[in-house]
Symmetry: C2
Subunit: 147 residues, 2 copies
Amino acid sequence: MTETTGPALDRMLCFSLYSASRATTQVYRRLLEPWQLTYPQYLVLVELWDRGPRTVSQLGEGLGLDSGTLSPLLKRLEKAGLVTRTREDADARVVTVAPTERGTALRSEMSELPSQMWNCYGLEPDAARALLAALHSLTATLHADAD
Amino acid sequence: MTETTGPALDRMLCFSLYSASRATTQVYRRLLEPWQLTYPQYLVLVELWDRGPRTVSQLGEGLGLDSGTLSPLLKRLEKAGLVTRTREDADARVVTVAPTERGTALRSEMSELPSQMWNCYGLEPDAARALLAALHSLTATLHADAD
DNA sequence: GCGCAGTGAATTGCGCACAACTGAATTGCG
DNA sequence: CGCAATTCAGTTGTGCGCAATTCACTGCGC
């Protein structure tokens, strides 16, 4: 039988998401420690590896973050020598972010990371797919609510 | 057919959790606005309503937060007149947090909030239960991994 | 009683998130 | 062309998260 009573927080979906999300970033913190990267910084690199050079807006679109979060984060990645930030000639408002050679090299250095994470999750492929789909759908619904 | 390719971030469970979690707190931000409460502050109140006065450690246990997060947060709740913080006579290291009359009154004022959230999620009861269970299990697994 | 390891909360420092704002650059419209 | 509206990145300010440290207090052994 599934619990329908019990601690209030355990019945709140928001709290389950919040807890699960923080639990994953804690695992990432450990895995990313050798590269001195934070989890959001890693996400930016994943996006750059996956899609190539991106403007700040495009990164914001992909990650759901605004310039208030990205600008300082990208500055730190630049300082770490992992990305370059170049203002476009054609439109001087736009800054394009591209991985440096070192930034690109990390892709293969870190290639085991995703499978390490899946091991940590300990989910069957079907369960993983179902959870992924449920979360995408939920996020889409919530973003739609926001209008 | 389910996508097995596509944007890298969309295949990462961590990112789905991160996105979904931020999407829920954004909805909460809007719903909590009338009371000028943040989502973590609301969680503290829920815990106090559910379990009665709690020490800082107990709150930390329940929410998975440490004193570094809770101490300033509780100070803000105290300043807002929603909780009291009293150092125990029996053990002066311990601080007990209790809702004030106003803090308790909020419980009924905000009683519609949970169902409003469930409406936003737009999930069938079965789907909601399944998601909740999957997330609890995942969080437990990840916490176990951390050892 | 005295010292001392251990505990509980608070503080410090850093990096997100996010709202609000700024300022430069561009677009579009008359 | 001229200029107002828009766009893009960056800045500022607040509040988490979390590691590391501090500080007061407790309890234990002697």
